[in-house]
Point group: C2
Chain length 474, copies 2
């Protein structure tokens, strides 16, 4: 390991490892919550085994950014469909008086902010390995596994890896991020032992990355290859049928790989601590938008009635559908993505080469070998008022030049989303909001929104920087 | 054969078969020319065997449009390189006082207009089959072969086929047309016996069309498949190593096939006798150009120092190169072709979706697996002033958004042709003319040229009709 890398890692490790006092505070809070939730569940007549899970339990949390996960392991006698509701009630009661936000993974759970610390109170069934009834049932087993295998040195390496991933924007299993979970980081370190070894291994990525710590598939690698199709496969030590990395988006994996390479070449603190984005002034924004030469379309809409994971799932799905719609109509997309503040402002963003296309385009018909199709093509286009030139023969096939249905991307989106865009593939809850109202801003028209929403202003500033922060820093 | 088809064919045959008086006049003129050329060659000390060849000799010429071909078969003692010059002298002397145009196929020959009839005086060597010294040496053998095998009924079928091919624009072996020669028509009839059978056979075209009248390759079809690669193969009965159709452009073959199909479905006289094009008025032209929505770029230039076959060869070659140039710069070409009046006006025409492109475009870098290439890509684009956005990662590869070199197709052409365009692949003689001067007209700016050149006006009117005449008529 180079001296430079070692220096950076030492500094980061020093910063991310909780000091005694912080640790004491968090552990006390966790213990207290364990008790309150136990009491609340008893009061509501549910026989739950309440445990601290996650990074606090495993001692892999990052100083300054703890997340306390309290799990209620309930008996399997509680029906699957009432699991969420029952436990939400308990969680609400246990955190009465604190700020509460309902969240949703596979079933609803509660997030509360207590003493400035985010606390997640999550239900699951108290089951043995392999008898999973809900996705969260594995968590206590993950905690046990990690506690059993991670020593203190490795916990430090986990902290480094997590902080690096946070810094380059690939940490977090929530749908919005689609990145690496804490447990995944722990398994990577269990396998590679060291943060830098993990980076080096991933940086060399050629095809797939496959890790099977418990050697479940030893001598049966073919089976493993067939079972899991994702580019990153980490077999879950507590469930050999599950890929812990199955939800990692390829984009996040690739970003991690690229960032790892650049870091190893040029190690710097700001991979872990990216500088805060300072939003462009309105004047700078306008100049930048004018100078870049592309057209950016912002399709904005208001509150969608869905918890963040559902909202982001629907945003991504809808964005993919709209991307297809825009591309099928021949617009060249440079970049496109959704954005949301998860409260009142949502949007789909399309950076296009041009807003307006030529009114005419070439439409290739069948090759002459296909005699019957040729006849049909001639029939259709000879008398079609949309035919501008042709039919004529080119490269052995019939061709016509026809009018485009849409020449303006804004008109295309406006028209196809007027009724909510279900036919264009927009997801249900988003469609409901669109049906009521949406607005389209083109390039610097977005200033109006930019000035009012500082979160968006930062996002747009980063979008217009056009490259990852960690690359900017090199 | 349907009644309708029969009726059309009877009418056409009646019109294209020379009447007694016309035949007498042409045959007399041919005989007379045979004598004059013989005398002239004797006077100049060349011992030539002078013969009438081609359609007049074979009695397959079309009433009203005879072409008299006079061949001088000279002894092989005359060196190859002086063959053209020697014979040109003889031909000039023989046609003194008539309008004379020097032409060029493999070697120069003379075209003269005598009594309103086009006469070609062409040299060749007097050789036995297979001992060819120049391409035209085969012609007398072709004449002999056709005379021997074509009976009167078949000569009528040849006339029908020729007239049909002329009507749909695929007749003529000259480079400008790249179509079917008269000899090729004769062979098609020798094989299929009837005009309509020829159309039907070609209309059913699926893959290649292969005809070997003399069965040179009987039992050795594989050899034939390997020897000739063209989509239409007609083995020359006087030279089994030669495909008579080798110079037929695929576009002409496909046009013939398509026209044959449409004719068989809907037989009409105007396949043979297309209506004369009436040029649009300037007002109509402007309306049409505005309404169509595309941008048409006319790059015009003056006289090129080359005989028609050479000129057209260079025009086509240069057009292909310029097409590539324009496409490589991302402009969407709808149609493109060269045009020339073979005298003072030449041009390259490009119909584009849009004259102007976005100043920005996406440039895909290497996929992450190619680590070394990625490094080079980052090095190149991170500090490049042409980089607008990025590098960023998308679909597992590095990507940048960069400025286009050319956003205006007119600017692209102007700049790349300023020095004659040799580097852009423009052929030598054309390049010489371009180096002196060229002009670019965009869409209705071409009115200026349109008003002055009626030949061009007709051409442009047809171009803007956008479909073959025979299709318009259906």
């Amino acid at each position: 390991m180079s001296e430079k890398i070692e220096k950076v890692c030492t500094t980061v490790l020093e910063r991310v490892t909780p000091k005694k006092s912080e640790r004491a505070k968090i552990e006390a809070l966790a213990k207290k919550l364990e008790k309150t939730v136990t009491a609340a569940s008893k009061a509501l007549g549910v026989e739950a085994e309440v445990r601290v899970e996650g990074s606090v339990a495993k001692d892999t949390w990052l100083s300054g950014e703890p997340d306390i996960d309290i799990f209620m392991r309930v008996p399997t006698t509680i029906p699957r469909k009432s699991l969420g509701d029952v436990c939400l009630k308990i969680a609400r009661k246990a955190t009465e008086g604190s700020k509460q936000i309902e969240r949703f993974a596979e079933h609803p759970y509660l997030e509360a902010i207590i003493d400035n610390v985010r606390v997640n109170i999550v239900p699951c069934y108290n089951v043995e390995r392999g008898e999973w009834l809900s996705a969260t049932d594995r968590t206590p087993h993950h905690t046990d596994y990690a506690k059993r295998h991670l020593n203190e040195q490795m916990r430090g390496e986990v902290r480094l890896l997590k902080k690096f991933m946070k810094g380059v924007g690939v940490y977090g299993a929530e749908i919005k991020i689609g990145g690496f979970s804490g447990y995944l980081c722990e398994l990577l370190i269990l396998h590679h032992k060291f943060f830098i070894k993990t980076l080096k291994a991933c940086a060399q990525h050629k095809q797939r990355i496959v890790i099977d710590i418990e050697n479940y598939y030893k001598g049966r690698e073919n089976e493993l290859q067939l079972l899991f199709k994702e580019p990153l496969v980490i077999v879950d030590p507590v469930d050999k049928g599950r890929n812990v990395a199955s939800a990692v988006q390829p984009q996040k994996l690739y970003t991690f790989i690229a960032a790892a390479r650049v870091f190893l070449e040029n190690p710097k603190l700001n991979f872990f601590y990216p500088p805060e984005t300072i939003a462009l002034t309105v004047k700078e924004l306008k100049q930048k938008l004018e100078k870049c030469g592309s057209t950016i379309i912002f399709l904005t809409f208001k509150k969608v009635d869905a918890v963040p994971d559902v909202l982001w799932g629907q945003l991504y799905k809808s964005q993919r559908s709209l991307r297809k719609l825009v591309q099928l109509n021949d617009f060249s997309i440079l970049r496109d993505l959704p954005w949301s503040d998860e409260r009142t402002l949502n949007m789909f963003i399309f950076e296009l080469e041009q807003r307006v296309l030529s009114p005419i385009k070439k439409h290739l018909g069948p090759p002459l070998e296909k005699e019957h199709e040729c006849e049909k093509f001639l029939e259709k286009h000879l008398k079609n008022p949309g035919t501008v030139f042709g039919p004529y023969i080119e490269d052995g096939r019939w061709v016509v030049e026809i009018r485009r249905k849409y020449t303006d991307a804004v008109a295309l989106l406006s028209e196809r989303l007027r009724d909510g865009g279900r036919s264009a593939g927009v997801a249900e809850q988003i469609s409901q909001t669109l049906r009521k109202e949406f607005k389209i801003f083109v390039s610097d028209e977005i200033v109006e929104v930019y000035e009012k929403n500082s979160e968006f202003a930062k996002f747009l500033t980063e979008f217009l920087s056009g490259k990852p922060k960690w690359l900017e820093a090199t």
